[in-house]
C-alpha cells in the first residue's frame, strides 16, 4: 500500500504513448483488406447454406457466376411471397432468365476462361429440389456444365 502511494507522490505517471496505435489499426486494416472481398450484390433472398464436410474451395473465384435460390427477405415478402425465388445479380428472376444471365456472364470473361466458368449454386437448405432441378436442367441446356453446390463446413458459423 505504502509502495504505490509513495511512488504516486514522488513522480507523475508517464503518459502512455499512442504513437503505435495507428500502426496496430493499420495492421488490422490490412488484414481485413486481404481476407475480405467486395460485396457485389445485395442479397434479396435468405440463403442459409447446407453443411457438407467434404466441401472444397473454389480455385478461381473470379470465374464463378452466382445463382441464389431461397425465400425472399422480409422486406420483399409482401411483394414476392415466401416461396423460393431465384436471384440473379440484383433482382428476382425466373428460370427463363438464366439463359441470358449465363450468356452475359460468359461475355464478361475472356475467351480462354469461358470453358472454366463455374456456376455457383447458392441454395438455401430449406428449398425443395424441384426448383433446383429446373435450374440444373436449364444450365445443361445453356451448356454451363461446371456447377458447384455452395455449402459450408460444419462447425463454422455463418
Amino acid at each position: 500500500m505504502s509502495k504505490f502511494g509513495g511512488s504516486r507522490n514522488n513522480k507523475s505517471v508517464p503518459g502512455i504513448s499512442s504513437g503505435s496505435l495507428s500502426d496496430i489499426v493499420f495492421m488490422l486494416l490490412f488484414f481485413f483488406m486481404v481476407t475480405t472481398q467486395m460485396r457485389e450484390t445485395e442479397n434479396k433472398v435468405v440463403v442459409k447454406l447446407p453443411e457438407a464436410s467434404e466441401a472444397a474451395k473454389l480455385e478461381r473465384k473470379d470465374l464463378s457466376a452466382n445463382i441464389n435460390i431461397g425465400s425472399p427477405t422480409r422486406q420483399y415478402q409482401a411483394m414476392y411471397g415466401t416461396d423460393a425465388r431465384i436471384q440473379l445479380n440484383d433482382s428476382f428472376k425466373t428460370i427463363d432468365d438464366i439463359r441470358d444471365f449465363i450468356a452475359s456472364e460468359r461475355d464478361a470473361m475472356s475467351e480462354a476462361d469461358r470453358s472454366l466458368m463455374t456456376v455457383n449454386l447458392r441454395v438455401d437448405e430449406d428449398v425443395r429440389m424441384g426448383i433446383v432441378s429446373d435450374v440444373k436442367q436449364e444450365l445443361r441446356r445453356c451448356s454451363a456444365l461446371k456447377i458447384m453446390y455452395a455449402s459450408r463446413k460444419p462447425g463454422g458459423d455463418k
Binding site: 475480405t36 472481398q37 460485396r39 472444397a56 425443395r128 424441384g130 445443361r140 455452395a150 455449402s151
Partner: protein, 189 residues
C-alpha cells in the same frame, strides 16, 4: 541554420485508420466460397438416350424420396450406412459378381484396376435441398476415403499431400462417377 520544423501531430492517424477499417468492414464479406463441385451431363443430341446400356451390376441407384427417405439399391437405408455401402460398391474388395466389374487401365506408366461402378443419384421434386446435399456429401466422402486409401497404398502419403501429377493418377484410378439422373416428375409439392 534553417528553422526547426514543428512536428506533425500524429494522434489523429489512428482515427483515420479506424474510419478506413470501418469502411472495409462494412462493404466487404469474408470470401470463403466452398462447396461440392460437380459436372452436369451434357444434353444428349438424340432422343434415344435409353439405348446406352450399363451393365446392371455396375450401377447402384441412390434415391431420396419427397419425405427425405433414402433408398440405396432398392433398400431403405439410414444415411450413416451409405458411405460404407458405397465404398464397398466402388472398391469391390472380394471381386463379388454382384458388385461392379473392374477394368485394367494404364495410368501414368502403371496398370491399375479401375472400377466401372457408377452411382446414380435420383431425387424427387419434393426432396429438401439439405437432405440432397447431405447425401451428395456422403458420396463424395466415400470417394475421397477410397482415394486416400489408394494413395496410402501406392504412394505412402495421403491424397491431399501428393503432387499434382500423382493426384491426377489417383483421380483416374479412383474416378468419381456420380451421375445425377434426369429429374422425374413425381412427388409434386
Amino acid at each position: 541554420m534553417a528553422k526547426k520544423t514543428p512536428e506533425i501531430n500524429s494522434s489523429s492517424t489512428a482515427d483515420i485508420a479506424f474510419l478506413l477499417l470501418c469502411y472495409f468492414l462494412m462493404t466487404t464479406t469474408m470470401g470463403d466460397q466452398s462447396g461440392l463441385q460437380r459436372r452436369l451431363p451434357p444434353i444428349p443430341d438424340t432422343k434415344d438416350v435409353q439405348d446406352q446400356k450399363v451393365n446392371r451390376r455396375n450401377i447402384v441407384v441412390v434415391r431420396i424420396n419427397s419425405a427425405d427417405k433414402l433408398f440405396a439399391g432398392n433398400e431403405a437405408m439410414d444415411i450413416s450406412f451409405l458411405k460404407d455401402k458405397m465404398k464397398e460398391f466402388l472398391s469391390n474388395p472380394a471381386d463379388s459378381p454382384e458388385l461392379p466389374e473392374k477394368e485394367a487401365k494404364e495410368i501414368g506408366g502403371k496398370t491399375y484396376m479401375v472400377s466401372k461402378g457408377v452411382i446414380s443419384l435420383q431425387n424427387d421434386r419434393g426432396t429438401s435441398y439439405q437432405a440432397y446435399i447431405a447425401v451428395q456429401n456422403e458420396l463424395v466422402k466415400a470417394v475421397n476415403e477410397l482415394r486416400d486409401e489408394f494413395s496410402m497404398r501406392e504412394f505412402g502419403k495421403r491424397f491431399s499431400r501428393l503432387s499434382e501429377d500423382e493426384q491426377d493418377v489417383v483421380k483416374k484410378a479412383v474416378p468419381q462417377n456420380i451421375s445425377e439422373a434426369e429429374p422425374k416428375d413425381t412427388g409434386k409439392k
